[in-house]
Assembly symmetry: C2
Homo-oligomer: 774 residues x 2
């Protein structure tokens, strides 16, 4: 099994040292490039069997037909090159690979692949492939290839262009549009999504140099259905180097900057922008993009870990890199997909992963991005009303999976095979994984409480919290015990379907109603205009009565004598099996090889944190003994088959004071994408898990938490760390945090207001700096 | 460049001796398997980059969207296997291929691929892949794989099933249907075409043996979008052989035998038929299919060539094999595609290739198949009326490209790139390549005249000839010279667009009207009921007047003083260029690399036979000197860039007595698919050219021709041939024809009527046998 090389962590580099055709997915995903507007999977320039070549433009959802759900379509490819070296198609699966390395520099976002290859005909060549997606020009994809023949002269044929034959596991989202070669130089291809009617405009152009001399190389134009290419035939004298640059861009008429422009204008506009980039050239464009990365992240909100293990520093940079690649910060009609923009899995849909994992990162480091993600939820109210109404509920029931703002529920209905019945398994999450609605409310509250963004709250936040609470009031069911229950749900632990009184769901629903009641009362008293507007919109009078009446009656599962809280009504009574075989990060989901969903639902086995995540969100509602008892009960029964599980456990382990276990879990969480399992990232990076690396660091070891509206910092560095420093935003103040084992130092870089916080139980207020001895 | 091995011609075998990943298309096409109901391109079981894997069911046309034309969709694949040998994915592009051969036996239709492969891990394995499409059970595809480890024990993992992610150069024609595993054994997948709403039902099942012992091997079921597969993990002890059988079938609700059955019934029906086949097993099914091939072709209408060059015998068998693979003889709503069922090119559409090339084969060897192809044209009258009306013409204007019977014109509008403008080239054939309408009439007349099938004529044939003639009458244009012209057309030579008075078109239009007038007069006199029916339907009275008035005025280009007939109004005056660079079978279409269509239209260069094919069809209208003069003028200007060109030239060369040239052209014609150009068949076999091999043999060297309604045989064997024998049907009589250089021997095997014919100018009538000394 190939493994990644992280020895150049100090140089911010992720390196692959050997090529393995059966392990293509790993680097395609973890070296995925992008800027939130577009995501480009890092498939090699040359085609490989088993590759997954993807180009996604955030928010361009389309549905193939009525049998399928909407998804991010795989746009036309601009990266593939067929490179013939002295008549042989270049491919590392044959011939002899003499040197190989492929690296992503997290700092500047460039990938470099260096190969010395001996063709089956015995001739050797050095090839260097460079590629980046510009952080400065969000539509730009740049490639650079150098070919140096090592065995005399070489005849090189390069074929490439724009390939609209791409699809999503067989579903073709696009109608073919127009193909055109401008001035013998720039190829343009347009394509339009079938149902959502989004026009895509792609442009690409080649240029060549021999050593330092520009070549005026003419290409032969080839068109086929959904395909426009040029073929270039070049001669490289021995010892010289041919350099190719291929610059491409993509625009859509859904882009904010393209609004109001006609199809023809966008053809012209996108073409003009590509020509402009061509005039600048790869190297300068690369520098421009690196500067943008520095300004955005590395010189702005870096996280520094001085650890015995350089992987830790690399992991947090890996996380920050991908968080910016995946997040469509530019458009509040879009949110983050569960695989970011790095793979087709989960179809680009947004889950609770945003609120629980990704949103906190941006709340604390880039509040304006967090606000955009929150506005997306407010814009999603239309869909949430649709969903509630279709289920005979009131208020806003958020979709388990969300795509375009007004789509409503987009969770697919059928999934993997049931090994017993031989039929596809029904996916129940879209129907009954209902805690998402409280999660959204919690996210809005967290955003507001940390940032203090009152404007957001007035316009969007109160409404989100009240409207979701309205849903819960209508959702509660009368029990024979005189209490109110939430029956037939899926909780965070998706190995349990159709459970009653999932603890997480019930507690969060109660939290949501309680928070709504507090805000309704406050608004009535302090912001009567907002109250009046929302009262009319949401029928608040009637709904408030329901809240007051129902909140005290919600059944909240209590700890047993041994401190264990029943995850749901039946869990603790289910049969137990030996889970050793399945409790291993290499065997994600392997329990499905032996049992079907129905059988798994009837065993004491959990996919992921359930009670644990409740402890994290509602930290103060449970004491440490209860947390420990539940950890001891549930962790051994938890397979961590969801990538959302480990980082939560890391934080909890830290909260319980178990640094060693926390550090071990942190490393395992980081390994979900970066680790030696070369298949785990095939379908794309794990967005929530990646954000979890940051959470484990800052919330876990850094001990940062917003609790009941207050900032708390309880640092607890692992043995292996000497120092941890990072930046957080708190109520408009940007604070530098430096933690050693001995000391916590805070510096308010904004210093327009003083900051109040608790450190290890003691309260502090500071204006400029604060140093606390630990 | 890899080449094919035909040294086992005596064993009916086409063999590939070396694997070359850049030359996959050749064997995929020329070893294509099928039975007229379905066509399966011979892509290897294991996936290769650059492969083209196709499964077509005849007549199941669908249009992706309104921007595209209807085409034969690429159905779900059942053939692909991922074979992991001791953990390494089997693929010949890496590791070491120690032995390799791949052969198609034309006699029984089975392909056998034998490989000894050394994995990159150093272990060796012998694999034998067998496959056939049953000629007996038209829905059945059978695969058999044997694996023998040569370096100790082996762990083998085989993954396969049904893959509905296939598409046609990016266009996905299907909605996903249902996926199901029955009894842990049979996988079923359904899919439905998007616009034509044809339901496909596919079933597949694996079975395994170790040496001779049946294994009850359980597979692990895997489903993804459009995909159902099973994974089998097997252990092979050293020295033993694992044998896998995978049997699959495909049905559609368009199948005649499926009419009236519900979706659920067809799931059941197709499943039941697969289970039945599984009970029979590969070897017996194979024998059954071989028997069907023998009964249909090899024991029925074989062609035997005793030649110095065994390739000649192989070539004619190759032709007969593919004619039965490609022809949907089972359903008169279907016709033959220009690539048969062997590739996506030309989208499964039917061209004049049928009437000019393929139909004659069936007229003379299997009249019932020819009748089905003719009935397709009659059923196509709806579409032909649609086309005429849309162009403001009367009668039946046949589409240049035809798909489903009532589709009308389906020629795509945009083609390859124009190297000057950088835009796609407009394809004018669908608009103005109008001779097809006369070709269809000619085909009906030829069918009738050769077979004497009066029932066909009464029901369909007269109408076809009258209705097409009605079109021509409305099509003719008044010229300033007082004559009638046909302006702005494409003739058979497609390198000339927008020409006036293409000789072929004008002569054939005149022929069509003349034949219609003869039949109208005859019907009026002899079959008044038919006349009355058609008169009402076609408004014959008025139309007949037009015919009588217009026929004498049609401008028919006459030979110049030097005997050369102008191919069209301007051809002889166009500029001439040196064509040496382009006149080479390896460089098909290469003139487009230097000139665009407009430029080519304005040079004296022809793609294919134009005047020549007129000489063949209207043989008696032109004397030998004129033919020779035109050959000498046009042949040097003809690039033979159409695969329809060489066989016509072969026949003409023979007619002109040039046996040597004829034989040379025959071999070149056979080489279009079988020859050393490993790329020429990538897009599929050349259906017309393949039928042309038979025509060159029987019409060319055999000298068989229907002329003015009479059978004529002027044999003229090439130097290299000792004997040629074949079978023809003539007016209900099946005749064995044996030709040596000295003698022609005819045997009437039916002997229900005597047969009249001309041999080298002398008339004969015979009842049982006839021997003519040559």
């Amino acid at each position: 099994m190939t493994s990644m090389d992280y020895s150049k962590a100090a140089e911010w580099k992720i390196i692959e040292r050997t090529f393995n055709a059966e392990r293509l997915g790993k680097c395609e995903s973890i070296m995925c490039q992008g800027n939130g507007y577009l995501g480009l999977r890092n498939a090699a320039d040359e085609f490989n069997a088993g590759e997954q070549r993807n180009l996604f433009v955030a928010g361009t959802f389309n549905k193939f037909d009525e049998n399928e759900v909407t998804e991010l379509p795989n746009a036309a490819d601009v990266t593939r090159l067929n490179i013939h070296l002295d008549g042989t198609l270049f491919n590392l699966q044959y011939g002899r690979t003499i040197e190989y390395s492929r690296e992503l520099c997290l700092r500047n976002g460039e990938t470099v692949r260096t190969v010395v290859w001996e063709s089956p005909n015995g001739k050797q060549y050095r090839l260097e492939f460079r590629r980046f997606v510009s952080m400065e020009r969000k539509h730009l994809i740049a490639q650079k290839l150098s070919v140096t023949p090592l065995s005399g002269d070489a005849e090189v044929m390069i074929i490439g262009g724009i390939n609209g034959q791409m699809n999503n596991t067989g579903s073709q989202h696009f109608s073919e549009g127009e193909k055109r070669l401008y001035d013998g130089r720039v190829m343009q291809y347009t394509q339009t999504t079938g149902q959502s009617k989004i026009d895509f405009f792609l442009n690409t152009a080649f240029s060549f140099r021999l050593n330092d001399a520009q070549l005026d190389q003419k290409g032969f134009i080839v068109m086929d259905r959904r395909l426009i290419q040029q073929e270039f035939d070049l001669h490289i004298p021995a010892g010289q180097t041919l350099t190719m640059e291929k610059l491409s861009n993509v625009y859509t008429n859904r882009d904010r900057e393209c609004e109001g422009k006609s199809f023809a204008q966008l053809q012209e506009y996108s073409l003009g922008n590509l020509k402009e980039a061509c005039a600048v050239g790869y190297d300068t464009l690369m520098q421009e993009s690196a500067d943008a990365w520095n300004a955005l992240v590395w010189n702005n909100v870096p996280v520094t870990i001085d650890s015995e293990n350089p992987m830790d520093q690399l992991a947090i940079r890996f996380a920050q890199y991908h968080l910016y690649v995946m997040t469509p910060a530019h458009d509040n009609r879009m949110n983050v997909g569960a695989k970011g923009l790095s793979g087709e899995a989960y179809k680009g849909h947004t889950f609770w992963d945003t609120e629980m994992f990704i949103l906190p990162y941006f709340i604390y480091t880039a509040p304006e991005v967090a606000r955009s993600l929150e506005e997306y939820r407010w814009l999603g109210l239309t869909g949430a009303h649709k969903k509630a109404a279709s289920n005979d509920y009131e208020g806003a029931q958020f979709p388990w999976e969300a795509a375009w703002i007004d789509d409503g529920e987009v969770t697919p209905v059928w999934g993997a095979a049931d090994i017993i019945t031989g039929l596809p398994t029904k996916i129940w999450s879209g129907f009954i994984e209902q805690h998402i609605t409280a999660d959204v409310a919690f996210g809005a509250w967290q955003y507001y409480t940390v940032t203090g963004d009152q404007d957001f709250m007035d316009k969007f936040g109160y409404e989100l919290i009240l409207d979701t609470a309205k849903f819960w009031a209508s959702r509660l069911e009368d029990g024979e015990d005189g209490l109110l229950h939430i029956n037939d749900v899926v909780g965070p632990d998706e190995y349990k379907e159709h459970v009653d009184d999932n603890a997480f769901t019930n507690y969060m629903a109660a939290w949501n109603i309680r928070k709504a009641m507090e805000y309704a009362a406050m608004l009535k008293a302090e912001k009567p205009e907002i109250y009046a507007r929302l009262a009319e919109k949401l029928d608040l009078g009637r709904v408030e009565e329901q809240w007051a009446q129902k909140l005290p009656l919600i059944y909240l599962p209590q700890p047993r004598e041994d401190g264990v809280i029943p995850q749901d009504k039946t869990y603790l009574g289910l049969k137990q099996i030996d889970l050793t075989k399945y409790k291993n990060q290499q065997n994600i989901g392997s329990i499905y090889r032996d049992y079907n969903q129905h059988q798994i639902s009837n065993m004491q086995v959990s996919k992921q944190a359930d009670i644990m995540i409740m402890f994290m969100l509602l930290e103060n509602q449970f004491d440490l003994d209860v947390k420990r008892a539940n950890w001891n009960y549930y962790e051994p029964r938890t397979l961590h088959d969801s990538s959302l599980s480990l980082s939560t456990h890391t934080i909890l382990a830290n909260d319980m004071g178990n640094r060693e276990m926390a550090y071990d879990l942190f490393q395992r969480a980081a390994a979900i994408d970066m680790g030696p399992n070369m298949k785990s990232s095939d379908a794309g990076i794990h967005a929530a898990s990646i954000a979890g690396i940051w959470q484990s660091t800052v919330f876990g070891f850094g001990g940062v938490r917003m609790l009941e509206g207050r900032l708390r910092i309880n640092p607890n560095l692992p043995e292996q760390w000497k120092e941890l420093s990072f930046f957080i935003h708190w109520k408009g103040q940007k604070i530098a945090v430096q933690i050693t084992k001995e000391q916590l130092k805070l510096t308010n870089l904004t210093a327009t207001a003083s900051v109040e916080l608790t450190v290890n139980g003691a309260g502090y207020i500071f204006a400029d700096t604060l140093t606390v001895t630990l």
